[in-house]
């Protein structure tokens, strides 16, 4: 079928299956025709192609392979001596751009269906029972279900959560020695993304310089070499790419400090090291001024400053939204010192913090929901068990007295005589009653249906129940029949039910009868289906009567 096509790329001297020919890449498909012939022998829509593969660099044969969704693959051999590599790469790049566009459209649905069937074995069984055996068509089966999944998908896309940044991402790079005085840094896209999000200045530099001035590899090499990255950020004044970044960071840090923290409960300025000397506790007077800091203190403070700056940047990057949102949305802005001011938001936050600090929920008065007490008139009804009131045989007081005296007489001369407890005939009759098949063991022979019926028949019965339930649900949901669509559906479901009964139920019944199982296991199923038939006939009658 010829959908509108314009040819995007033509590559001559491409062999396929040992035949010379030409490869054409069009807007919606890729095709190959042999030399000299007009028609295409091989043609694949981009939508059908799952992926492409190329032969590795060193090989003599320069090939491109297309793998389709169905599993089959087609290989093209670029045989032009001079330009084979270029041709192949050109074809590959074009395909790389085109394939993603078509991929998503066609097979998302199919993949979704496959996924659903794989995840839910009950659904899979239902599918097998109903669709594969042609009781209902596949569209009807998926009609209800796919609707749900597509709405889920849509909403989940909108609420995708952002991935945060690990504070240790720089430390995780973990350089390895190269063997000869060099260091090898492994950078992944995650780390690069983290660097860009945390230090927007670096991102800016990257955008400026790559790929015009430097390659990516060079950029990163310079980055790691520069003192910007290393611990001791002593600006040597070299014309370093990143010295500007360092200056920007200093500025940012200063503005962050100036802004301070919004929480009125936290007073950062009172946290100062006021020590006499190492290990000597704190000084409660005015602290010594900055001038008498030792060299070691200076370098320590530089590192601490770096740490604080790094943590602040990581937090800021996490709070900053991915898309530049409007000013109204930014609640905790300017934590990186570089963006908007937040004075307008100060009062509400302060109030909330104060409120939190003052009040404790537990100490509030209990204001639970008002309840009504239970008032019972007659308690004794509960204490009477499910023992139905039977008439006991009431003994008269005379009876009582006589029986008590009788027993007292008997017991007064009681002497245990354990050698003559019972006669052997009594004992043996008791034993026969207790042996298997005896009078007392009768109820044991009565086995439940679940013990009599083999497991595979039980599971088949369960599948039948699920399938019948599904069909009946569709059937009963059509009533009351208001629209012509429902009318059609009712008629269709009726025929489906009949088909189900003939293709599934009757063979099953035949099978169990052959196995000499006496109970009719599917009587309930037949009842349900019969009820559906009755309803259908009644509805049909009423419809015919209305028409006349």
């Amino acid at each position: 079928m010829h959908i509108q096509y314009e040819v995007l790329l033509v590559v001559k001297k491409v062999r396929q299956r040992k035949q010379d020919g030409t490869l054409y890449l069009m807007t919606e498909r890729i095709a190959w025709g042999p030399e000299g012939k007009d028609r295409f022998t091989v043609s694949h829509l981009y939508a059908d192609i799952r992926c492409q593969k190329i032969s590795p660099e060193g090989k003599a044969k320069i090939q491109l392979q297309l793998v389709l969704h169905t599993g089959e693959s087609t290989t093209f051999h670029f045989a032009n001596e001079s330009t084979a590599m270029k041709d192949r790469d050109a074809a590959k790049d074009l395909l790389q751009q085109l394939l993603p566009k078509f991929k998503k459209k066609a097979n998302k649905e199919l993949e979704e269906k496959n996924r659903m069937l794989q995840e839910d074995p009950v659904l899979f069984q239902l599918y097998k029972d109903l669709v594969v055996s042609q009781v209902i068509s596949a569209e009807e089966f998926w009609a209800n279900r796919l609707k749900l999944s597509s709405t889920d998908h849509f909403s989940s896309n909108n609420n995708k959560q952002e991935v945060g940044i690990s504070a240790a991402f720089l430390a995780d790079i973990r350089p390895q020695t190269d063997g000869c005085n060099g260091l090898r840094y492994n950078l992944t896209t995650d780390i690069i993304e983290s660097i860009f999000r945390t230090y927007p200045a670096v991102k800016q530099k990257y955008a400026e310089n790559v790929p015009h001035n430097l390659t990516e590899k060079d950029f990163w090499t310079r980055f790691f070499q520069s003192h910007y990255f290393h611990r001791d950020r002593i600006n040597t004044g070299l014309q370093d790419l990143f010295s500007e970044c360092a200056k920007q960071d200093e500025k940012g840090l200063k503005s962050m400090v100036v802004q301070g923290v919004k929480n009125p409960m936290v007073d950062l300025l009172s946290l100062e090291d006021k020590t006499l000397d190492e290990g000597y506790g704190s000084l409660t007077g005015p602290s010594t001024s900055n001038s008498s800091k030792t060299v070691k203190e200076n370098s320590n403070s530089a590192i601490i400053k770096r740490f604080n700056h790094h943590s602040a940047m990581v937090l800021a990057a996490g709070l900053r939204k991915m898309d530049t949102s409007s000013d109204q949305a930014s609640e905790t802005s300017s934590t990186d010192g570089n963006s908007r001011d937040s004075d307008t938001f100060q009062p509400p936050i302060k109030k909330v913090k104060l409120q939190e600090a003052i009040e404790y929920e537990d100490f509030q008065n209990e204001t639970g929901p008002k309840t009504i007490a239970l008032k019972l008139k007659k308690f004794d009804r509960y204490s009477h068990g499910p023992v139905p009131l039977q008439s006991h045989h009431y003994s008269t007081s005379q009876d009582i007295i006589s029986s008590v005296s009788c027993i007292q007489e008997e017991m007064s001369c009681y002497k245990p005589c354990l050698t003559q407890v019972m006669s052997s005939s009594a004992a043996s009759s008791a034993i026969t009653a207790l042996s298997p098949g005896g009078a007392l063991m009768q109820t044991g022979a009565h086995q439940t249906v679940s013990q009599l019926v083999p497991v595979d028949i039980q599971s088949e019965l369960k599948h039948l129940y699920t399938a019948a339930g599904e069909l009946l649900r569709h059937f009963w949901s059509c009533f009351p029949v208001n629209t012509p669509f429902l009318e059609e559906k009712v008629v269709k479901m009726q025929s489906n039910l009949e088909r189900f009964q003939s293709t599934k139920l009757h063979p099953f019944q035949g099978k169990i009868q052959r196995e000499y199982l006496s109970s009719n296991l599917i009587s309930h199923l037949e009842e349900m289906i019969q009820a559906a038939y009755n309803k259908f006939h009644a509805w049909q009658m009423r419809r015919m009567m209305k028409k006349t």
Binding site: L374, K375, L376, H384, L389, E410, S429
Partner: protein
């Protein structure tokens, strides 16, 4: 075979309701209380000799007027004071003598008071659970079970207490077995079902000893290896509060949870008013009458 450390405690609760037994003695002279006690003693002795570590307790329950119980623990480690007269294992002779004597005392002290003839079953079960617990707390862990030999009928008034006792026994993993001589007892059927014990109604009272030895002597572990009478189908239906009929489908008040067999607009226990929404009456469509002529 149980390991040496495991102690198995059997508590036998015997119904010695004098009124029932007196009447029984008149009805069927060959099986009287003496014969019953003999059978129980045989059972008790057998239990004690099964394993050295087995323990035994016997409780005789009494009727509702006098709260006289008799309970005693027999332990193989007790030092018997007397030797036995007929060469029997001392523990057994001590046990038998003690039981006989106590029963005689019990019967001698009986006095007729009032008209009630019911057996105090719930109370005695509670007492036996207490004994078991006392022994458990004192010493090592033990597996205990209670064997109830019941003669007279059930008393409906003891229902709540009885159910509480059953659930307590279930919590403590104590089996309750029941051997019923005369009429089926729904309460004991429930007890056996809930705790996992055996319920048996004996067709022939004379062969009581045989039934006891065959069915109730093995303990819980051994019973799984034996072919014993199958469990009875227990009727767990609730009884309605108005007529005390056993019903399968009924109406339950959502406020006080009382069960009724018929719908009534006011619950008689808590006096809440209820309404059942009736299906809506469909108004018949008025057909347009064509004007005559």
């Amino acid at each position: 075979m149980a390991s040496e450390d495991e102690i198995s405690l059997l508590v036998i609760v015997v119904d010695v309701n004098p009124i029932w037994w007196g009447q029984q003695g008149q009805r069927q002279p060959e099986f009287t209380l003496s014969k019953c006690l003999d059978a129980v003693m045989v059972m008790a002795n057998s239990h004690l000799v099964m394993t050295r570590t087995n323990k035994l307790a016997i409780i005789a329950i009494f009727i509702i007027w006098s709260f006289i119980f008799f309970s005693h623990f027999f332990d193989s480690r007790d030092e018997p004071s007397l030797g036995s007269s007929d060469g029997k294992y001392e523990l057994l002779s001590v046990a038998n003598d003690l039981i006989a004597e106590e029963i005689k005392n019990l019967m001698a002290r009986t006095q007729v008071k009032g008209h009630q003839t019911d057996t105090l079953l719930a109370g005695s079960l509670a007492k036996s659970l207490c004994c078991i617990l006392k022994k458990c707390l004192a010493g090592q862990d033990m597996k205990s079970r209670i064997l109830v030999i019941k003669a007279a009928e059930d008393c409906a008034l003891q229902y709540m207490n009885f159910m509480n006792v059953i659930f307590a026994a279930q919590k403590q993993n104590v089996l309750i077995d029941a051997c019923v001589l005369d009429s089926d007892s729904g309460l004991l059927q429930q007890a056996c079902d809930i705790t996992g014990g055996l319920y048996l109604k004996i067709p022939q009272k004379i062969a009581l000893a045989q039934y006891l030895l065959w069915v109730f002597l093995p303990d819980a572990d051994q019973r799984s290896q034996l072919v014993l009478p199958p469990p009875v189908h227990v009727d767990y239906r609730a009884a309605c509060f108005c007529h005390r009929n056993l019903i399968e489908i009924g109406y339950v008040c959502s406020v006080c949870l009382s069960i009724f067999c018929n719908f009534s607009p006011i619950c008689t226990t808590c006096e809440t008013a209820f309404k059942i929404p009736l299906p809506q009456m469909i108004k018949p469509k008025k057909k347009k009458l064509k004007a005559a002529n």
